[in-house]
């Protein structure tokens, strides 16, 4: 979770706070003790993403070390993730949570659309729609 939160927040201290808050919420989440690891991880990704987005919005400045994105697996693209992260930090304040969450999961965490849909409890079509809106918002910002 620390690594996941750090990809968005960019510094270790903030990421540790976000990860800790995520696990505190897990304590109260009422997940079944025998829940499948995939279900628990999806819950952690969903909650950790929300918390990190909230923290990103609260911070006035967003110092970011690109090295936190350098260790992406083959499904990710560090350069694209860095660009997405930078855009996301710029427009986080005026963008709805679900759009930001889709962008974080698919563009920064490199989740596939089916994985992001499972994490967000929405359909793949909705994930695609949210990403389209996010991209439109960036286009509008540049226009």
């Amino acid at each position: 979770m620390r690594a996941k939160c750090r990809r968005l927040l960019g510094d270790t201290s903030a990421a540790e706070d976000a990860a800790q808050e995520t696990f505190l919420r897990l304590l109260n989440a009422g997940l079944r003790p025998d829940a499948e690891p995939r279900v628990v991880l999806a819950w952690l990704y969903r909650t950790g993403t929300r918390i990190s987005i909230d923290m990103l919005r609260e911070r006035r400045r967003h110092p970011f070390d690109p090295a936190h994105l350098a260790d992406a697996p083959c499904g990710g693209d560090p350069a694209a993730a860095l660009e997405a992260r930078s855009a996301l930090a710029r427009i986080a304040g005026a963008t709805p949570d679900d759009e930001l969450a889709a962008a974080v999961l698919c563009r920064i965490d490199s989740l596939t659309h089916p994985e992001a849909a499972a994490v967000m409890h929405v359909s793949e079509r909705t994930v695609r729609r949210l990403l389209d809106r996010f991209d439109e918002r960036l286009t509008t910002e540049h226009a």
Binding site: R2, A3, K4, R7, E16, Q20, F23, L24, L26, L27, N28, G30, E36, P37, R38, L41, A42, Y45, D71, A72, P73, C74, G75, G76, D109, S110, L111, T112, E115, V119
Partner: protein, 212 residues
Amino acid sequence: MDDHRYSTFALDLYWAAPDTRDPDLEQHLATCERCHAYVDHLAAIDRPIEVRARPKRPKRSWLPTLLATALAIALVIVVLAWPGHRAPRIAIKGEPGVEVLVHRGAETVVWNTSLRVRAHDALALRVACEGMARVSVLVPDATGWHLAFEGSCQDEVLPFTLVVDDQPGVEQISVVLSQSQLDVDAVQRATALETRSAALWTTRFTFAKETP
């Protein structure tokens, strides 16, 4: 060479749940440098004692100490305005701090002075060390402050909880952060004087209880 592209989610799952590992991913890791490096990185940043969500209960029993404390104190339903008392919080950057987490039923909340604790609440302490190396926790009884925990200071929840008993009164906890390990006398003295210096930082909490 396979054509699979794996995400952080897939690799996190692989790393966190060894019993359910996907054989295709196992095979992929043998040939994919980036995914292999990612999994190695996960292993490298893992710290086994990162169980912040559920502080462990101590093996030693300090319950009699708390019970004695509760018995010794009359029923008080407001937080005492302790002389020199500092607001409990994570302090500003550069100053150590302690935050109390109250675990009640299925909920965990950060304690504030308007929150009364209840019998069976579990209290955990989250510490911001800011350069201090050791942390000591003391609880009082009729004869004075007694050491309940001593250990190295890390910016996380301390590995024990204090369970509130069902006796009327208040609960108190003193936390002493220090740059070096102190003997019990020194920690008790710091608590009594509420010392704060470059090498020693003390804070004290008084918890009002809800009446049954």
